[in-house]
Amino acid sequence: MSLLVVHLRTNVVETLRQPIAWIFSVSFPFVLFLFFGMTNARQVTEQTRGAVGGEAILTPFLLFGVLSVVLFQFGVGLAEERRLPWERTLRVLPAPEVVRFAGRVGTALFFSVLAMVPVSILAVATTDVRLDAAAWALLVLATLAGAIPFGLAGIGLGYATSPKAALPIANIGYLVLSFMGGLFVPLDFMPNFVQEIGTYLPTRHYHQFVGGLVSGYPQGGWQLPGLYLVGWTLLFGALAAWAYRHNEGVRYR
């Protein structure tokens, strides 16, 4: 059995047994959709006479579920793990570093998909979601791909800060980015200055990118937001690389 599978399975099992690490990501989108998404979706579909389906309302719920997975698992998870003695054991084992990293990414993918499942089932059961298999695949893949810059931001946070600092930063970052980027409440319903700021946030570009690709909502196309996301990827990638090298230099040089 390949080492990657071993690392991935071990990581996933370890995390699954700590519900605190994933229960929020899985349940929060579900609960919010139950309270707000369902009625919103019905109203919007009615008001637009069927032009906007449930998938347009579902999309941001998927996004902030995945966002919480990557920010917390990379940000808080890395900050905690790299201080544990187990980290030294892992580093001495004869596994290339890329395997350990891939195992971590695979674990985040697993829990990202897990976070999407319950809310998607709820949306299909209660609203007018009109996606065929190919469109579902596109939605899931675009959501995962668009999460890359946030995963990198999480890695940067995890390597740059202590666990005590990483948790509140991830929390605040998650709430502010989700709220002001229009994932919790559409930007149209917010005060002007929030709309103004929201336009520049990566979460807004994330929403425009995935929504533009899959449901045409938010309007304005996915290409430009996609470019913005590439920019965010470069920026957060540089941050993650710096934080990683700094940590290596301090701990393992």
Partner: protein, 301 residues
């Protein structure tokens, strides 16, 4: 396997952490099939030697070779199993899962059942690591070093925190694997542990190798006893054998450090020194080093 085959070595290795020199120009050979103990007080540089040998750190200058390669490479580390000084496991993983995880990294690992049996963990295979006692954790940590059946096993203070019985149990296991051909490098600040296990001892202090020799040679050099007593007034003391350091304060309190307390006491009696309040106590390794390093010539004798 040749009798004097070197499986791991440091060549002129120097390690600085910022302005602190942890290792200073250290040459060290680890010979196949033997148990080499690195002995020294806390902060001597033992863990730094180990961190270099298992690829956790890189030397500031000099070279590290393990089975002819650089241990920073994962493929070279297939030859190494290690137990770190600090022990910690992911709390939610079971003992059996942790063992299997480590075994999966090596080409010819020890069967999990045999490993657990040997380290007295057979009943704990399904226990989560968070529920292990201190001694059980320690045994698991040491077991993991042997899980891959690597030809070189590195143990960084393996028995620290274990009770006497558990310590002796671990020693028996280590002796068995060395008898079966495994090379073991172990650090300790227990002289007793080095005496019990080592074929050879390297004494390291303040980042330098002070001596290397058989257990008997080293023990004679660092096993010091403190002989203290009081004498009245300014009574003269005779020449005393094997004393490496001595102090006498204004009130007539004399403290001596010697490798041969029996001879010292006999000499005191023979010379009819009017001493009282005599006490003879063992000296910790740390204190022995402080006494010895003030007179480096005597260490070598």
């Amino acid at each position: 396997m040749g009798e004097s085959e070197v499986v791991a070595r440091l060549i002129g290795a120097r390690k600085e952490y910022g302005s602190v020199v942890a290792l200073d120009d250290v040459d060290l050979d680890v010979t196949a099939g033997r148990l080499l103990a690195l002995l020294g007080p806390n902060g001597a540089g033992k863990t730094t030697v180990i961190n270099l040998l298992c690829g956790l750190r890189r030397p500031t200058a000099g070279r590290v070779e393990v089975f002819g390669g650089n241990p920073v490479e994962p493929s070279v580390r297939r030859h190494i199993g290690m137990t770190a000084q600090e022990t910690g496991f992911p709390e939610t993983l079971r003992v059996g899962e942790i063992v299997d995880f480590v075994r999966a990294h090596y080409p010819g690992p020890m069967p999990a059942g045999e490993l657990l049996e040997r380290f007295d963990l057979a009943d704990l295979g399904r226990r989560q690591a968070g529920g292990l006692s201190g001694g059980q954790r320690r045994r698991l940590a040491v077991a993991l070093a042997f899980a891959g059946r690597p030809p070189l096993v590195i143990l960084d203070e393996p028995t620290t925190g274990l009770d006497v019985e558990a310590r002796r149990g671990l020693w028996r296991i280590v002796e068995d694997v060395v008898a079966a051909g495994t090379t073991v490098l172990l650090t300790t600040h227990y002289l007793e542990e080095a005496e019990e296990l080592a074929d050879e001892v390297v004494v390291i202090h303040e980042g330098r190798i002070r001596t290397r020799g058989s257990v008997a040679e080293i023990v004679a050099g660092v096993a010091l006893t403190r002989v203290s007593f009081r004498v009245d007034g300014d009574a003269a003391l005779p020449d005393l054998p094997g004393v490496v350091d001595a102090e006498r304060d204004g009130n007539g309190a004399v403290t001596m450090y010697t490798s041969d307390s029996d001879s010292v006491v006999r000499a005191l009696v023979r010379a009819d020194v009017p001493f009282h309040d005599l006490s003879v106590t063992a000296v910790s390794l740390e204190e022995a080093f402080v006494r010895l390093t003030s007179r480096p010539e005597e260490v070598r004798q």
